[in-house]
């Protein structure tokens, strides 16, 4: 009951309204370009939930989106915008793959543990750089993380297609495949869903718990919302900022590993197709609320996998997903802006009315004095 009380009904109403309007705009786009919207959306739903394999893929996608969204939220709550998750994910995936390949003779448990540590450390380190630059020198982390994304992706592309390219000839370039013993067991056969999902769920729960239920989470929130206040309150704000960014990067690194060990099996230059930006947008839509991110990523996973299948079956380009996604954000931003504008106007009118009354009253007393 306590949780129910906290839910912001106005926010949810806006969200539902935005989603409905965005889906309608999607339908209009389909209709204008000569497709039946009903056919399109039904293909989308059956493409996401039609059979166990597809449900598995959708759940895997939801986990990826959710963890990446939470990674954004962790950084944002601590006061730093981590736009560089894509690069951290790439490096994390590369580190996990290469440790797996180099240590493949050791027992699987040890290798997985070492790979996990290396992915998390590498991802975290790559987020540490912009965090330190921001906190110690004052360089905008938004710009540096955007730039470092491309740097990471280019370096990974070079390594994967160059020195670490698989000697076995295959259609696409990439590293060797990890041995079967190392890869996570599939929860649903032939789908992307593996035991990594359980690990991902545990991590998601932990993040939610730390952010909402512990003092660390509160300290992060205070720092993120008001840096000066946090500093005067005696919090080590600089440290908190840097570490929340490192945690954000570490989660991205972990997602990289889950993608490889879960279903991709080897590192390629297309390990992630801007997954991080999707996760980031989910986090933005949900205002960095951890629980909201977890719920909303399932919805967007359905849209995303469904859109890919719809592209294959009906021929409507899967990019309709990007359009629906961004329209929702625009609508929510518009609603927020309009409501604050209206509130502002109302306050202004109230103040004006009050001032007028006071003036009238003053004029009254003045005239009596004369």
């Amino acid at each position: 009951m306590k949780i129910l009380k906290k839910i912001d009904t106005k926010y949810i109403a806006t969200l539902v309204f935005s989603i409905v309007v965005a889906l309608l705009i999607g339908a209009v786009l389909m209709a204008v370009t000569g497709f039946s919207p009903i056919k399109g959306y039904s293909a989308m739903i059956s493409g996401a939930l039609g059979n166990p394999r597809l449900i598995g893929n959708t759940l895997e996608k939801a986990m990826t989106l959710c963890l990446l969204g939470l990674a954004t939220a962790v950084g944002a709550k601590g006061g730093l915008f981590n736009v560089g998750g894509e690069g951290q994910l790439f490096f994390g995936a590369l580190a996990a793959t290469m440790t797996g390949l180099w240590l493949s003779d050791l027992p699987a448990v040890i290798v997985t543990a070492v790979a996990l540590i290396s992915a998390v450390v590498v991802g975290g380190f790559y987020a540490w750089i912009p965090a330190v630059l921001k906190v110690k020198i004052g360089v905008s982390e938004v710009i540096t993380t955007i730039m470092l994304n491309t740097v990471a992706i280019k370096i990974c592309t070079y390594l994967v297609n160059g020195p670490w390219n698989s000697p076995l000839k295959s259609l696409t370039k990439g590293t060797d495949y990890l041995p079967e013993t190392l890869r996570f067991t599939k929860l649903i056969t032939a789908s992307n869903l593996s035991t990594g999902f359980i690990g991902g769920a545990v991590v998601a729960f932990l993040i939610w718990y730390i952010m909402k239920m512990t003092s660390v989470g509160l300290e992060m929130k205070v720092t993120g919302e008001n840096y000066r206040f946090a500093k005067f309150a005696g919090l080590k704000s600089d440290k908190i900022m840097i570490w929340s960014m490192v945690a954000s990067g570490a989660i991205c690194g972990l997602v990289g590993m889950l993608l490889i060990y879960g279903y991709q099996g080897r590192m390629t230059d297309s390990v992630s197709n801007e997954f991080y930006f999707d996760g980031m947008l989910v986090a933005m839509i949900m205002n960095y609320n951890p629980l909201g991110i977890i719920i909303m990523s399932v919805f967007f996973a359905i849209l995303s996998t469904g859109a890919t299948m719809m592209d294959l079956t009906v021929g409507i380009s899967a990019q309709i997903y990007d359009i629906i996604f961004s329209v929702i954000i625009f609508l929510m931003a518009a609603q927020k802006g309009i409501s604050t504008w209206v509130d502002h106007k109302r306050l202004q009118q109230k103040a004006k009315a009050k001032a007028r009354k006071e003036i009238d009253a003053n004029v009254g007393t003045d005239s009596s004095n004369i």
């Binding site: 000569g34 736009v83 004052g138 905008s140 491309t150 996604f325 931003a333």
Partner: protein
């Protein structure tokens, strides 16, 4: 050895430098306005992409390149107004709106390309009319310099003129003065009787127009085609150039040329065995380093000035 170096630093290298730099120059000049008006505009990527698509689509429909450019500019104005509506009027987070604008543009252009024009990947036909190339008389006859500077697409020369025009606008006209004030001291501007909101909207619209130019040049300047995701993070590079050049038109122009040069050099170095993926990463890394340098040195300057002032104050007290 020397032959190899000579082969790398050939006419082609400098031609490519100018080719690569021009879309970035145009977009960065647009980004200058928003930067001066105090808006962090990372939506330029989407603006360029839309401009490129609209230019190709209407050059194809009307079989005329000027119509393509005109429509790209009109759409650029609309995007600028759209961006301003959210960022200036509704006071949304400029970062979120910029990122979303990029996603929206990328999604919409690919959707329209595939479902309206029935093309996937790259769209190139003879029916897409390109912009004319300009040969400059006398200049083109000078060896080495002639072929580098002459014979480019028309927007290359327009962009050079615009560098000067933008400088004059920003630093020698009242509008430019107000625009800079709207970013630095909006309250002061309001007291002076000019609405800072209006100046910010103007900056955003101008940015839309310039990004429309950049997009049109990108798609109609040389290859007359549209490729999915054609802007290829040029919007971000343009944004980096604005920061790099400290929002001063000639300096931003220099920064964009430097980026173009590094990009062209990377492709050339591939022939000597330097992997192009690594050289492609260099401009981005350079931006990070440059940013660190700019911020650190300006902080230093501030500290030094503060020290000097306290010193003077102490001296004054002693006297």
């Amino acid at each position: 050895m020397w032959e190899q170096i000579a082969a790398i630093f050939s006419v082609g290298l400098f031609q490519n430098t100018i080719r690569n730099a021009t879309p970035v120059i145009l977009a960065a000049l647009g980004g200058l306005f928003t930067e001066h008006a105090g808006i962090m505009n990372i939506g330029m990527e989407g603006m360029i992409l839309t401009g490129a698509f609209v230019a190709v689509a209407f050059s194809f429909t009307f079989a005329s390149a000027p119509m393509g450019v005109l429509l790209a500019v009109l759409v650029g104005i609309l995007i600028g107004l759209f961006f301003a509506l959210f960022v200036v009027k509704l006071k949304s987070d400029e970062f979120i709106i910029g990122m979303t604008l990029n996603t929206f543009a990328s999604g919409l252009t690919i959707f329209l390309l595939r479902n309206v024009f029935g093309q996937t990947g790259t769209w190139a036909t003879k029916a897409i009319k390109g912009l004319p190339a300009v040969d400059i008389p006398l200049l083109e006859d000078i060896p080495f310099i002639g072929p580098i500077l002459s014979g480019h697409s028309i927007f290359v020369y327009i962009s050079w003129i615009l560098v000067f025009v933008v400088w004059v606008f920003l630093y020698r006209t009242p509008y430019g003065f107000w625009m800079r004030a709207s970013g630095e001291h909006p309250e002061a501007l309001e007291t002076a009787g000019v609405d800072p909101v209006k100046m910010k909207v103007l900056a955003s619209v101008l940015c839309g127009i310039f990004c429309g130019f950049a997009g049109a040049h990108l798609s109609l300047g040389y290859l007359n085609c549209f490729t999915e995701g054609m802007s290829a993070s040029r919007g971000f590079i343009a944004f980096a150039c604005v920061v790099f050049g400290m929002a001063n038109p000639p300096k931003v122009f220099g920064a964009a040329l430097l980026f173009g040069f590094l990009q062209a050099l990377g492709l050339r170095l591939q022939s000597v065995g330097v992997p192009s993926d690594l050289t492609a990463a260099v401009p981005y890394l350079a931006t990070v380093l440059m940013l660190v340098y700019i911020v650190a040195s300006s902080e230093n300057r501030k500290k030094r000035r503060a020290k000097k002032e306290t010193k003077l104050e102490v001296e004054a007290e002693n006297v």
